[in-house]
């Protein structure tokens, strides 16, 4: 099938793998119907639909905050209406690979904080890398987590190379955000262009609240009764992700608390309610380790709860994600994750890493510095796309700066091969153009590890750009996982 419709008139494939179109211009089978539907739409109509969604998002307050020079600007969540589609079989592989990876990461965290540290003594991960990590948290030692679910909610960023092969770009094991947008994107799509769903069976995404609540109930401490009291701890209404915090509280039917609402007495956490103090069993916290407890960490923080660490130690409350997860999503530890999988699970990694050079290995460093203009240089402790130098797009001054920074503090940098992210059609002006994108699926661990169907697809703002972070102006797409049709007779 070829594409002739107006919206596709000027479509020129970008470099790398196109999710919908083969290199000869034909449409991949799982995109055929959607492409056909979009051929019947003209740009004005699509613009109007986008307007409908934007109004809806604005009225519902589906926003995020961008910080620029310390000034917060509230933006409406950007969504492009051309969906990203993943076939059932492909998703199965991703699902298995994601579970495998998160299981290994959880084993590593358990091993490190409540076990013997076997991976360190066996040399799977260099001890000095672990102990010099900003995310390494001595206070986490000895704090038991039910089912070893240190990372209860993980967001794993996946990209596809030129051949369409998936790889893990980054693990987010502390406070990965974005799940609310997955759910709201779908709701908006169903409102704006319901007809494109007609020919597909798409896995629903409404069940996230139930899944999360189930996982949170599973990790309640033994002191909790049958229906544990769960709360979400938010930094408050001014936080960039406040919408998501409120969304999660609503979809789980639990209280959204701030630090000031909780109080610790005799190593038990209580919520200050109108009926006095009521004990709390599980805290899904959306604040960083450093602000959790002003007694143990950042003393000036008013976001946390004094005495919370003591309660965690006493085992009267479970805090999710657990303390100290930052060590495992440190980009300097990332190169060792495939080895963790082999070590703990005795399996070959299903999802590979992006090829990465560590700067504390002289050979790797020499090679990387030599080809820095072809590689991506990343600071290990930043997130949100900050501080990244993309070699092919960087000026000589930027590259020189990166070289100098690496020489000064090799521990602080990793260098990776450029992944020519895959691309997909997005509406730009009056026609569809390819934009690069990634995928952040969410992996939940309670009694068992489960992958939420789909995930957040983030797209770059400009043609050719490889930066997809919403804080850098990127957008998003609804992500469809097609249901497995093998059991349904035609």
């Amino acid at each position: 099938m070829s594409f002739l419709g107006r919206l596709f008139d000027q479509y020129r494939r970008a470099e790398g793998f196109d999710e919908a179109f083969r290199s000869d211009g034909t449409v991949r089978p799982h995109y055929e119907q959607v492409v056909r539907s979009f051929e019947e739409i003209d740009a004005d109509e699509l613009r109007r639909m986008e307007g409908v969604v934007a109004d809806e998002f604005r009225r519902l307050g589906i926003t995020f905050t961008v910080y620029n020079d310390d000034e917060g600007i509230e933006r409406t969540w950007p969504i492009d209406l051309f969906p990203r589609i993943i076939e059932a079989a492909e998703w199965k592989t991703l699902e298995t690979g994601l579970k495998q990876r998160v299981k290994a990461l959880n084993f590593f965290l358990s091993d490190l904080y409540v076990g013997e540290g076997a991976a360190l003594s066996d040399g799977v991960v260099p001890e000095w890398v672990v102990k010099s990590s900003q995310g390494f948290e001595r206070n986490a030692f000895g704090i038991q987590v039910p089912y070893g679910a240190h990372c209860m909610i993980a967001g794993i960023d996946l990209v596809r190379d030129g051949a369409g092969k998936y790889a893990v770009l980054e693990d987010n094991l502390r406070n990965p955000s974005g799940i609310s947008y997955v759910v709201e994107n779908r709701a908006a799509m169903v409102k704006a262009i319901p007809r494109i769903f007609d020919d597909h069976t798409v896995e629903p995404v409404d069940q996230y609240g139930e899944m999360l609540r189930h996982a949170l109930e599973a990790v309640a401490p033994p002191t909790a009764n049958e229906r544990p009291t769960i709360v979400i701890l938010t930094p408050g209404v001014y936080n960039a992700a406040y919408f998501e915090h409120a969304f999660l509280a609503r979809s789980m039917g639990v209280e959204l608390v701030e630090g000031q609402d909780l109080v610790v007495d005799d190593q038990v956490v209580y919520a200050r309610t109108i009926h006095g103090s009521l004990p709390v069993d599980v805290i899904y916290r959306r604040i960083d380790d450093n602000f959790l407890d002003p007694v143990a960490f950042e003393a000036s923080s008013s976001l946390g709860v004094p005495g919370l660490l003591g309660a965690m130690r006493a085992g009267t409350v479970t805090v999710c994600n657990a303390l100290g997860n930052g060590v495992a999503d440190d980009k300097a530890v990332y190169p060792y994750v495939p080895d963790m999988i082999r070590y703990y699970l005795n399996e070959e990694p299903i999802l590979p890493n992006v090829e990465t050079y560590v700067m504390w290995d002289q050979d790797q460093k020499a090679e990387a510095l030599d080809r820095l203009d072809q590689l991506v240089t990343k600071p290990v402790a930043e997130s949100g796309g900050y501080g990244i130098v993309i070699g092919p797009h960087a000026s000589e001054t930027e590259l020189e700066g990166a070289r100098k920074a690496i020489e000064e503090d090799p521990r602080n940098w990793i260098v990776q091969e450029v992944v020519q992210l895959s691309s997909l059609a997005c509406l730009s002006e009056s026609h569809l153009e390819p934009r690069h994108l990634d995928l952040r699926p969410f992996v939940l661990t309670g009694e068992r590890t489960e992958v939420f169907p789909g995930g957040l697809t983030r797209v770059a703002l400009e043609r050719g750009s490889l930066v997809v972070n919403s804080s850098q102006g990127g957008g998003s797409k609804d992500t469809w996982i097609l249901a497995d049709q093998t059991e349904v007779p035609a």
């Binding site: 604005r58 009225r59 519902l60 307050g61 009291t229 209404v237 915090h245 409120a246 969304f247 999660l248 509280a249 609503r250 209280e255 959204l256 608390v257 701030e258 630090g259 000031q260 609402d261 109080v263 610790v264 007495d265 005799d266 190593q267 919520a271 200050r272 309610t273 109108i274 009926h275 006095g276 009521l278 002003p294 007694v295 143990a296 008013s302 004094p306 005495g307 660490l309 003591g310 130690r313």
Partner: protein
């Protein structure tokens, strides 16, 4: 379970919702009546309205102009920085609701946002017309939509109860303020039609008492008619019912309930007709103060029982015996 902080936000949501709606209604009624008085009297009338609302008269930037409908409209409607303006009430309503948006129906948050975004447009239209009609209508329709969601979509739980308690307390305070302002008006004599219309009670009054209206009968009607949803007595009865939802055993709201009961029985059984003209102003003054105190008592009993300074003072060192 409901957090004390959330309960407080819901309570203020109710208060600001009521305030926004009442203020815009009063302005509409005032415009209608003040169009028929002499300009110099009109200014005094507008000042009376500002006073009844508790809006500050000093420091308000009126330029050269005196109090007239355009100036007051600008101040009381569209200026979010004027304390007591409709805009400020809606902003405060939204700020409070944002804190609890996870526990109220999505439609409620949506309606409040719609109103918030609609105000900007209406303010422009009103400025162009030099009339606040657009603006008032947006506010009233918005408030009615919000009330509709509250009544049809929200579970009658503690959260709902706190919104209603807030509405009832605000409504009764404003009704008493309206009566006081009308009874102490030095420019024109007590205008029963205007007072009744301001309380959305004109029709009801006429059905019951026809066109015979005195300051005494109107005052009594607005204070003590249990069937009239805007009467102070009705508000108190409603608030007491909601307190029962919040705290059935009356364990944590004893003072609030005692005070509410005392005010309510004063209205039910008090002799307002005795020496009406001499005593009514001081009675209303006392009543208004009692109503203010009712809000404060609720706050100190339920919302902030430990007091703000104690909030973060309870430091417990991990692992230390106490």
């Amino acid at each position: 379970m409901i957090l004390a902080r959330h309960a407080e936000s819901l309570y203020w949501t109710g208060r600001y919702l009521e305030r926004a709606e009442v203020t815009s209604r009063w302005l509409d009624v005032a415009s209608r009546f003040n169009a028929h008085v002499l300009p110099e009297d009109g200014a005094a009338e507008w000042q009376g309205l500002m006073r009844a609302l508790g809006a500050p008269l000093l420091g308000a930037d009126l330029g050269d102009g005196a109090f007239d409908q355009a100036a007051v409209s600008t101040l009381l409607l569209a200026d979010p920085s004027t304390v007591g303006s409709v805009s400020s009430a809606i902003e405060a309503l939204r700020d409070n609701l944002r804190v609890v948006r996870d526990r109220v129906p999505v439609e409620l948050w949506e309606e409040v946002n719609r109103l918030h975004f609609g105000l900007e447009q209406s303010a422009t239209a009103s400025r162009q017309d030099r009339a606040h009609h657009h603006f008032s209508r947006t506010v009233r329709e918005g408030c009615q939509a919000i009330s509709g969601v509250l009544s049809e979509s929200m579970m009658r739980d503690e959260g709902h109860a706190f919104i209603v308690i807030g509405q009832m307390i605000e409504r009764s305070i404003l009704t008493v303020g309206l009566l006081r302002s009308a009874l102490t008006n030095t420019v024109t004599s007590f205008d029963s039609d205007r007072v009744l219309r301001s309380s959305s009670a004109l029709q009801s009054y006429r059905r019951l008492h026809g066109h015979r209206a005195t300051s005494q009968s109107v005052t009594s009607f607005l204070l003590r008619t249990p069937e009239l949803p805007r009467s102070v007595l009705s508000c108190l009865l409603n608030a007491e019912r909601r307190l029962n939802v919040v705290d059935p055993g009356s364990q944590r709201t004893a003072q609030t309930r005692r005070l509410a009961g005392r005010i309510r029985s004063g209205l039910e059984f008090g002799d307002f007709d005795l020496d009406f003209d001499d005593r009514i102003i001081s009675l209303l003054t006392d009543l208004q103060q009692d109503l203010w105190r009712l809000g404060d008592t609720l706050s100190s009993e339920i919302f902030r029982p430990l007091g703000e300074p104690l909030l973060h003072a309870q430091y417990i060192r991990p692992g230390l015996e106490r």
